[in-house]
Amino acid sequence: MGRRVLVIEDEPNIVAAISFILSRDGWSVESHADGQDALEVIRRVAPDVLILDVMLPGRSGYDILHDLRADPATAALPVLLLTAKGQPRDREQAERCGASRFMAKPFANTEVLASVRALAGG
């Protein structure tokens, strides 16, 4: 079971909360706040699970996810997509882009933890 999570999210207080919860559960957490160079950071960190926000400065989470799935090195990386939009059509778009899981803000900490555990175990 992998133990490294990368959080790409531009809201520092959300990053702080997620980092705290996951580190308490034994995960090593790194974070990044910009979409533009997110792919390079993902390749460098090589996380076991990626938590990816959709609305990022520089580049959207959907675009990043699309490129991840196109690259054989990251095509199978488990990705938990975070978005402020929770409508069915947003969920469908997340699935189309290749999200492993989808979570609408505001989310419960327990849900995030359970999702990361499940994704790492899967």
Partner: protein
């Protein structure tokens, strides 16, 4: 003789004016006196054939007896019935609309007005829903609020559920909570302020175009102040019109006033009126006379003062419809008997749309507007590119259609006519190749 609202009433007025008894008129048209009595009290509908017989017996044109000024109310009632669809049981008695209007003109008018308001409300809802979905301001504000709420929720849960939290983490989360709560409050206030401003802008339920057109209708479509040599500035006129409450309606009014001013300078009222008296309301001849473009002549004819002296062709008897390249009606000056849809698309066979398909080609046609007794109109249509054109964007067109009563031309009564309607939904014409949706009046018209 002033025209009364309904066919039955008009037949009665004409009969009395000719000194005929009911029995005499009934005999000459081949109905019983008691049936005529019902007709004259608008309790029975008069079919086309019977109406022609009445017209012959009374020595008038059928259109004199047919529906006129009440067309808008009847169209409103039909629209109300159409909207109700199958939700009302028993269904509205479409074949007795005239009787209803004759017996309860107040209630009928109220229903028609209510119907118009419902349609306006529906459009407002659609507009607001569209704003909510696509307004970047609202979308951005909501995203900001949700992000702050997500941070607050996660942080508060950690503080509430973690017993052995380290002091430095606890302090950090308290600061984060405070910062996010401030962000939430400010974001919510900003959103409310934005929505309040948007609501104030909306000024009730009228669209900006309706607001502008209602204002223009109150001026009688003729802006006397702009005809003077020292005309006021259009901006000042718009500022002085409190009923133009929204920014968008003021922008439409300003655009109209500026164009009106240019037209008035190019075609001054006195010589233009004199030319109309001499040449008739023929846009082609008037355009040649003044060396002006057809669109300006169309607008001047529709903006003439009215009503004038008897027999004088004035603005009140001239309608004008303008559409953009997408076919959306951008200007409507109605004329009695020619219903113009408030929302949605109009009739595809209108010469307006023929002109749109053939830019810079003047079109003159006689149009027969569907109705219980079809009414004829002399129609001029023209489409031209909107200036200024450029090489870096698609050409934009605007089409116009001038509406005149058929009496405006000697040949209009017998010329082949374009069979048109008010729009498919409330048009009774069967087998029309241009129909895009079934008529809701198919059975009850």
């Amino acid at each position: 003789m002033p025209r009364s609202a309904l066919t039955g009433t008009r037949i009665r007025e004409r009969r009395l004016a000719r000194g005929l008894r009911q029995a005499e008129l009934a005999r000459s048209v081949g109905v019983s006196a008691s049936y005529l009595n019902l007709i004259e009290h608008n309790r029975r509908r008069v079919g086309d054939e019977l109406l022609n017989r009445f017209a012959r017996a009374l020595g008038v044109q059928p259109s004199t007896l047919a529906e006129g000024a009440e067309t808008a109310v009847i169209a409103g009632l039909r629209e109300a019935a159409a909207r109700a669809g199958e939700e009302v049981a028993p269904p509205p008695e479409l074949d007795r609309i005239e009787e209803f209007l004759g017996r309860f003109p107040g209630w009928a008018g109220l229903l028609a007005v209510t119907q118009a308001r419902v349609a306006a409300l529906e459009q407002t809802v659609e507009r607001l829903a569209d704003s909510m979905a696509h307004d970047p301001q609202i979308s951005g504000a909501l995203h900001e609020l949700l992000s702050a709420a997500a941070a607050v929720r996660s942080t508060a849960a950690i503080l509430a559920e973690t017993d052995d939290i380290e002091p430095e983490w606890r302090g950090r989360f308290h600061r984060n909570l405070h910062a996010d709560s401030v962000r939430l409050a400010e974001g919510a206030q900003a959103l409310v302020a934005y929505l309040d401003a948007a609501a104030a802008e909306a000024t009730g339920f009228a669209t900006p175009q309706e607001e502008f057109e209602a204002w223009l209708a109150r001026q009688g479509y003729h802006l006397a102040a702009l005809e003077a040599e020292t005309a006021p500035a259009p901006e000042a006129m718009v500022r002085a019109a409190p009923e133009l409450a929204s920014t968008a309606s003021r922008a439409l009014a300003l655009q109209h006033l500026r164009r009106y001013l240019r037209d008035a300078r190019a075609l001054p009222l006195a010589p233009f009126l004199a030319a109309v008296e001499r040449l008739g309301p023929d846009p082609g001849r008037l355009a040649r006379q003044f060396g002006a473009g057809l669109p300006a002549v169309f607008r001047r004819l529709a903006g003439l003062p009215g009503p004038g002296k008897p027999g004088q062709r004035r603005g009140a008897q001239v309608g004008l419809v303008v559409c953009d390249g997408a076919g959306a009606l951008t200007f409507r000056k109605p004329i009695a008997g020619f219903p113009l849809p408030r929302f949605g698309a109009a009739c595809p066979v209108w010469p307006l749309y023929q002109a749109l398909a053939r830019p810079v080609t003047p079109i003159r046609a006689v149009v027969e507007m569907a109705g219980r007794v079809a009414q004829r109109f002399l129609v001029f249509a023209y489409c031209q590119p909107v200036e200024p054109a450029g090489f870096d964007m698609p050409q934009v067109h605007e089409a116009m259609m001038l509406l005149l009563p058929a009496e405006a031309a000697a040949d209009a009564a017998d010329a082949p006519a374009v069979p048109a309607g008010p729009g498919c939904r409330i048009c009774p014409r069967e087998g029309c190749p241009a129909r895009r949706e079934p008529s809701l009046l198919a059975e009850g018209f």
